[in-house]
C-alpha cells in the first residue's frame, strides 16, 4: 500500500539525513533490510492509530529539539552502591575512560561499533531479527530506523549465571545531541543476567534492546530514565522467551516532555514467564507513554504488566497494552494493570488495554483506573499526626508499590523507592 504523501516525504527526508556506517561488516545486510522496512512502513505520523495518544513529530523530525541538560546536585549517581560493570555513553558516544573493562566471567561483552568490523558474529542472529519479528502485527518504524542507523551499542553473550549486573550509564551533556544505540543480549540455556540502564542519553534518544532468552535462562532489566525534563526518548525492547525462561523488566521515569517506551514480548517456549512494569512520575508538560505487546505462543506461560503513573499539574500518561494469546497457547495466565494517580484535575491518563485470545483455556485479566488520592486514607494518616504532604507522599508510594515490587533484588528495589520518594519530597525535578 502506498504511503500517504506527507508521511512518505517525512520518511524520505529523514532517511536522506541519516548515514549508514562505512564498514558495517556483518550488520550490513540487517541495516539494509531495516532501511527498506522504514521506507515501506513510513515513520510514525500523527494520524497513525498506534500514535493516537502520543505525537510522534519530535521523535521523527530530522533535528533533535534542543534540550537543556540537568544538574542533579550532589546526589549519588544511580546504582552507585551496586557492584556492577559500568559501560558509559555520553550523548550516545562510548566513554572508555569512564567505563569498566569490558570483561566479566560468564559472559562476553563487546561494543557494536567494534564488533561490526568483522564479517561473522554471534549477534547476527539477534541484531535486527527480534526487531523485525516485532514489526507484526504493528509497525514500529522508529525501531527499524534504529537497526538501520545505530551508531553503537553493547552486545552481550551470556553463557553462565552472572551475578554482577551490567550497567549502561547514559549522560546527556550536549543540548542538541541525537543518540541512537542498539543493544543485543543473548542468554544461552540456563544463563542469568541483570542489565541496568540509567540516565538520559541525549537531547533525543532512540534506544533498542533485543534480548534472546534461551530455555531456563533468566534476564532482569531495571532502568531509570533520568530527570532531564526536556529530553526526548523512544525506546524499544524486543524479547523472545524459550521454555521455562524468565524475563523481567522495570522502568522508573521521572520527568520528561516525551518518553515512549515500547516493549514487545514473545513467549515461544512453554512455561515461560515475562513481567514488565513501570513507575512514572511527572508534572506539567510531562508526557509518558508505555506501549506493550505480549504474544503468548506456547503453553502454560505467565505474563504480567504493571504500570503506574503519578501525574500532576497537567501531565499526560499513556498506556497501550495488548495481550495476544495465539491458538494453542493454552493455560495462559495473563495479567495487566495500568493505573494513574491524578494529583489534580488538570492531568490526564489515556489507556487502551486490549486482549485478543484464540485459545479457550486461558486466564487473562486486565484493568485500568484513574483516580485521586484516597481522602479517607489521607484523613486516617493525618489523624495520627502525619502532615498532609508526608501522608500524600506515603500514599503515592503505596500506589506505586505494586509496580516497584516487580523488582526482585532488594537493594535495587530500595534504591528505586528512595529515588521515587526523593522526587516526591523535592516536589519536582
Amino acid at each position: 500500500m502506498a504511503l500517504p504523501k506527507v508521511k512518505q516525504t517525512a520518511t524520505e527526508e529523514r532517511l536522506a539525513a541519516m548515514s549508514l556506517p562505512e564498514a558495517p561488516g556483518w550488520t550490513g545486510p540487517a541495516r539494509d533490510a531495516a532501511v527498506a522496512r522504514v521506507g515501506a512502513m513510513g515513520l510514525p505520523g500523527r494520524r497513525d492509530e498506534y500514535w493516537k495518544f502520543t505525537r510522534p513529530d519530535t521523535l521523527v523530525q530530522a533535528e533533535a529539539p534542543r534540550a537543556a541538560t540537568f544538574e542533579g546536585g550532589d546526589e549519588a549517581p544511580t546504582f552507585d552502591g551496586i557492584d556492577r560493570l559500568k559501560v558509559v555513553f555520553v550523548d550516545g558516544v562510548f566513554d572508555e575512560a569512564a567505563s569498566d573493562d569490558l570483561a566479566l566471567e560468564g559472559l562476553k561483552i563487546e561494543r557494536l561499533a567494534e564488533a561490526q568490523k568483522s564479517d561473522l558474529h554471534w549477534a547476527r542472529d539477534v541484531y535486527g531479527r527480534l526487531e523485525e519479528r516485532g514489526q507484526s502485527p504493528v509497525d514500529r518504524p522508529l525501531a527499524a530506523l534504529n537497526t538501520a542507523f545505530a551508531t553503537d551499542g553493547i552486545l552481550i553473550h551470556v553463557s553462565g549465571k552472572v551475578t554482577k549486573p551490567v550497567h549502561f550509564v547514559y549522560h546527556h551533556k550536549s543540548e542538541t545531541s541525537d543518540a541512537m544505540l542498539h543493544h543485543c543480549v543473548k542468554l544461552e540455556e540456563g544463563a542469568e543476567l541483570t542489565v541496568l540502564e540509567s540516565g538520559p542519553a541525549a537531547a533525543r534518544f532512540n534506544n533498542v534492546m533485543e534480548v534472546e532468552v534461551a530455555d531456563t535462562a533468566r534476564f532482569a532489566h531495571i532502568r531509570t530514565q533520568g530527570r532531564d525534563h526536556e529530553r526526548r526518548a523512544a525506546t524499544h525492547i524486543f524479547t523472545r522467551l524459550g521454555t521455562e525462561s524468565t524475563f523481567k523488566s522495570f522502568t522508573m521515569t521521572a520527568n520528561g516532555v516525551m518518553t515512549r517506551n515500547e516493549c514487545v514480548i514473545e513467549l515461544t517456549g512453554d512455561d515461560a514467564v515475562a513481567h514488565v512494569a513501570g513507575a512514572a512520575l511527572g508534572d506539567g508538560d510531562f508526557h509518558h507513554d508505555d506501549t506493550v505487546f505480549i504474544t503468548h505462543d506456547a503453553v502454560n506461560c505467565e505474563s504480567r504488566q504493571v504500570f503506574k503513573k503519578v501525574l500532576r499539574n497537567g501531565a499526560t500518561g499513556v498506556f497501550q497494552g495488548k495481550i495476544l494469546v495465539k491458538a494453542g497457547a493454552q493455560k495462559t495466565d495473563g495479567y495487566q494493570i495500568s493505573q494513574s494517580l491524578l494529583l489534580d484535575g488538570d492531568s490526564q491518563f489515556l489507556a487502551k488495554p486490549e486482549l485478543e485470545i484464540y485459545a479457550d483455556d486461558v486466564a487473562c485479566s486486565h484493568g485500568s483506573t484513574s483516580g485521586a488520592i484516597d481522602e479517607t486514607a489521607l484523613f486516617y494518616l493525618r489523624s495520627r499526626g502525619v502532615p498532609t504532604q508526608q501522608a500524600t507522599d506515603l500514599l503515592t508510594l503505596a500506589f506505586l508499590a505494586e509496580a516497584v515490587d516487580e523488582i526482585d533484588d532488594e537493594a535495587l528495589r530500595e534504591e528505586i523507592v528512595d529515588r521515587l520518594r526523593g522526587w516526591l519530597e523535592r516536589r519536582r525535578g
Binding site: 484516597d374 481522602e375 479517607t376 486514607a377 484523613f379 486516617y380 494518616l381 493525618r382 489523624s383 495520627r384 499526626g385 502525619v386 502532615p387 498532609t388 508526608q390 501522608a391 506515603l394 500514599l395 508510594l397 503505596a398 500506589f399 506505586l400 508499590a401 505494586e402
Partner: protein, 252 residues
C-alpha cells in the same frame, strides 16, 4: 482537658444539622462514656473533634487544654494529644502497618521537637506494646488493616493509641464487631493506659464494654444533643430499658 460548649455541626454538602448544641467536659484522669441510638451523632462528634472534612461547625467551641481545636488541621490536633480510635478503621493497601506506625510516631516526635526513633529502637518498642494486645509480627508486616478481621482492626487501633500515648483518647464503638475475648483484650489495652493525666471518651452503643472499662460519667446522646448525664448506673438503665425513655418526643 476536653471542653465542648454548645457545639453545633451541619453537613457541608447538605442542609442537615447533625449536632444541635453539645456540651461536654472531660477532666484529666476521667473516663466518660457516650451512649445513644444509631444516627444520634456520636461518630459525627468524634470526627468533628479530630478534624475530618465534610462538616461545618455552625456554632459553639471545642478546646483541648484551653487550645481551640476547631481551627487546627487534623495533624495539629494529633500533635496536641488528641486521638480517635475509628469506628471503621481504614485500609491502606501498599503501606505496611509497621511503616504506618513508625511514620506516625516519628511525625509526632518531630512536631514536639524530639528526635526520631531509630528503626531498631522502634522495633523493640512496638513489639512490646503489640505483645500485650496479642498482635503478632505478621499483623505488623501486613498492609494497614488490609485483610484484618474486625477484631484485628480494633486491636490495631488500640495499638496505635498505645504507641502514640495521646492525652485525650476518643474511642468510637471500639467494641462493635468484637467477641468477648477480643473485647477483654481491647479493654485491658485501654485500662493499661488509664492514668491521671489522660482523659477518655468512650462511645458505645451497648453497655457491655463499660463492664470492662468502668466510666466515671455516662452521657446519653440523642438527636444531636446530650439528653442525660449520670454515673455508671445510667448505662445499666439503658441496658435494661433501652433508649426509649431518653429520646426526644419528636423522635420517639
Amino acid at each position: 482537658m476536653l471542653e465542648i460548649k454548645n457545639l453545633q455541626v451541619k453537613l457541608e454538602e447538605e442542609d442537615k444539622q447533625i449536632l444541635k448544641g453539645v456540651d461536654l467536659k472531660v477532666g484529666a484522669g476521667e473516663v466518660h462514656a457516650i451512649m445513644g441510638p444509631n444516627g444520634s451523632g456520636k461518630s459525627t462528634l468524634s470526627y468533628v473533634l479530630s478534624g475530618r472534612d465534610g462538616y461545618e461547625v455552625t456554632g459553639g467551641e471545642a478546646t483541648l487544654d484551653g487550645e481551640d481545636l476547631l481551627d487546627l488541621e487534623p495533624e495539629e490536633r494529633a500533635a496536641l494529644g488528641l486521638f480517635l480510635a475509628f469506628q471503621y478503621p481504614v485500609e491502606i493497601p501498599g503501606v505496611g502497618n509497621m511503616t504506618f506506625l513508625r511514620t506516625a510516631v516519628n511525625a509526632q516526635r518531630k512536631a514536639k521537637g524530639e528526635d526520631e526513633m531509630s528503626a531498631a529502637d522502634f522495633l523493640k518498642f512496638i513489639r512490646e506494646r503489640a505483645k500485650a494486645l496479642k498482635i503478632d509480627a505478621d499483623m505488623l508486616k501486613r498492609p494497614v488493616n488490609v485483610g484484618f478481621s474486625g477484631g484485628e482492626k480494633k486491636r490495631n487501633e488500640i495499638l496505635q493509641m498505645a504507641v502514640l500515648e495521646p492525652k485525650m483518647c476518643i474511642l468510637d464503638e471500639t467494641d462493635s464487631g468484637l467477641d468477648v475475648d477480643a473485647m477483654k483484650l481491647v479493654a485491658e489495652g485501654v485500662n493499661a493506659l488509664r492514668t491521671e493525666g489522660r482523659g477518655f471518651l468512650v462511645i458505645t452503643h451497648y453497655q457491655r464494654l463499660l463492664d470492662h472499662i468502668k466510666p466515671d460519667v455516662v452521657h446519653i446522646m440523642s438527636n444531636g444533643k446530650i439528653v442525660k448525664t449520670g454515673g455508671p448506673e445510667l448505662a445499666l438503665e439503658v441496658e435494661n430499658n433501652g433508649y426509649a425513655e431518653f429520646l426526644d418526643t419528636e423522635e420517639a
